[in-house]
């Protein structure tokens, strides 16, 4: 315990650096995933046949072990000379986030009381107005829950991206493993966990902000 505290005290600037790397890659991946996943989720509500296929596909991506997916990224991206470092890790994380984001957006909007959709139509809203004013606001808690799941998941998986040179807190854990240095492993693990918990907490606040008061 003392060793751990000592380690943090001595190394916080360096740990901070790893953490920023970690956050950068996870943050960018999650934002990208939202930009892709939310519109897909919304679109899927208009095409139930495609929804089945896409949701299945996304759930298959989730089952691919992360190290395997990172691994496969290497030969695929080496074709464009981007096999190690940022890009493969980024892409893998974007893929992993798709399922929770698409699924939650999809079910969120599907679960909006059909009566509300009916009322919106009956009041003469256009499809887009209905989406913005009724469906998305009421689906917001679920959409954000998906984003939170994706983020926390990605923070954990991001630790494995260290093996393809993407840096981040995974490096600390990895070096701890090969040096049989439990202090380092703990330092890395605790940092990742804290980042995940903080991210979840902050996203919860954002969720509260974005969720209209009456919708839940």
């Amino acid at each position: 315990m003392n060793e751990l505290i000592e380690y943090f005290v001595k190394n916080y600037p360096f740990l901070w650096g790893y953490m920023l790397d970690h956050l950068e890659i996870v943050g960018l991946a999650t934002i990208t995933a939202i930009l892709i996943g939310v519109p897909i989720g919304i679109y899927l509500t208009t095409n139930k046949y495609l929804a089945g296929t896409i949701l299945q596909l996304a759930s298959v991506f989730m089952t691919i072990p992360s190290i395997a997916l990172f691994g496969v990224m290497i030969p695929v991206l080496s074709v464009i000379n981007q096999g190690v470092g940022f890009l493969p890790a980024f892409l893998a994380l974007v893929l992993y986030s798709q399922l929770p984001i698409i699924r939650n957006t999809y079910t969120g909007i599907q679960n909006v009381d059909p009566q509300l959709r009916d009322a919106a139509n009956g009041l003469g809203m256009t499809t887009l107005q209905r989406l913005w004013k009724v469906e998305i606001p009421n689906a917001m808690p679920l959409i954000m829950a998906g984003v939170r799941t994706a983020t926390v998941l990605n923070i954990g998986i991001g630790a494995i991206a260290a093996f393809i040179g993407a840096g981040g807190l995974g490096v600390v854990i990895y070096q701890g493993i090969v040096r049989a240095n439990t202090t380092m492993v703990l330092a890395g693990a605790i940092s990742v966990a804290v980042v995940a918990i903080l991210a979840d907490f902050i996203l919860k606040l954002i969720q509260k902000k974005l969720t209209p008061k009456g919708a839940n």
Partner: protein, 277 residues
């Protein structure tokens, strides 16, 4: 930073590499570079990344360059090997600079007592013992050594023995503990690794000279070499201070004392007045 000086530094997945890469990072940053570090790669992956400019600059070993990357016969003398590598790699647009005296060759290690008991001092003894008692020695190796031309297969052929069926594959670095805990009888290792002394391993003598010189040097893309000629000068001081002893000492601080690479490197560079406090 837009328009600023920016390079990507690569590193392999063991302590010495982490240390050397950190030195590069600190020195370059101290000289106004913006540095990205891409670490924990295998040798082959690192080399591939360098050739395809996914990284710009890295520390590597002339022996590795010669035998593994360029498929040449080993050269024992490090200066000669350095010159040869540089000459041949020009064709790959890769430049080698800043040859140091830190020679990190492969080491074949056993527990002192067991080696004593079995009367093994050299790799030749080791080969002979295995040929007499096939399957008795459990040998730990990492994926890289198991598959390199100057690795296990080359060694087996050179010394004429076969470990077939009694190999344990472990992640680079884990085998020191595995050997120490008697989970294996022998293992590959790096000669500059401090754990050899600390755990009291016997390093088997490469009596017939299989392993080439693995002196560390900087390897970078020609583009970066030409764009930032100052890099060679920045690293120049290291040519004199880095030798095998120093490397072993730095590794000791990280692997045995549990210090972080960053702290060790920072202290080292400050002591040698290479960066400011």
């Amino acid at each position: 930073s837009v328009g600023g000086k920016s390079v990507k530094v690569g590193a392999k997945n063991f302590t010495e590499q982490a240390i050397l890469a950190k030195m590069s990072v600190f020195l370059l940053e101290d000289n106004g570079f913006q540095v990205d570090e891409i670490s924990e790669l295998g040798s082959t992956a690192l080399r591939q990344a360098l050739e395809t400019e996914q990284i710009d600059i890295t520390w590597d070993y002339v022996g590795t360059g010669l035998v593994t990357y360029l498929d040449q016969p080993p050269i024992a003398d490090s200066e000669e090997a350095f010159a040869e590598v540089n000459r041949l790699d020009a064709e790959n647009d890769i430049v080698w600079t800043n040859l140091t005296e830190a020679n990190n060759t492969y080491a074949i290690m056993m527990q002192e007592e067991e080696a004593e008991e079995l009367g093994i001092e050299t790799i030749s003894d080791f080969a002979a013992y295995i040929n007499e008692n096939p399957g008795e020695i459990n040998f730990a190796t990492d994926a890289e050594f198991a598959n390199r031309a100057d690795g296990l297969a080359g060694m087996e052929e050179f010394y004429d023995f076969s470990l077939e069926g009694s190999i344990t594959e472990l992640e680079t670095g884990l085998y020191y503990n595995a050997l120490n805990n008697n989970e294996v009888n022998a293992s590959v290792g790096f000669s500059t690794d401090a754990r050899i002394d600390d755990f009291g391993f016997r390093v088997l003598e490469d009596d017939q000279g299989f392993f080439p010189s693995y002196s560390a040097a900087v390897s970078m893309t020609e583009d970066v070499y030409e764009e930032y000629p100052e890099i060679e000068e920045i690293f120049a001081p290291l040519e004199d201070i880095l030798d095998s002893e120093t490397m072993r000492d730095l590794n000791y601080q990280v692997d045995i004392e549990g210090e972080s690479v960053e702290l060790v490197v920072q202290d080292f560079l400050q002591e040698n007045n290479l960066i400011e406090e």
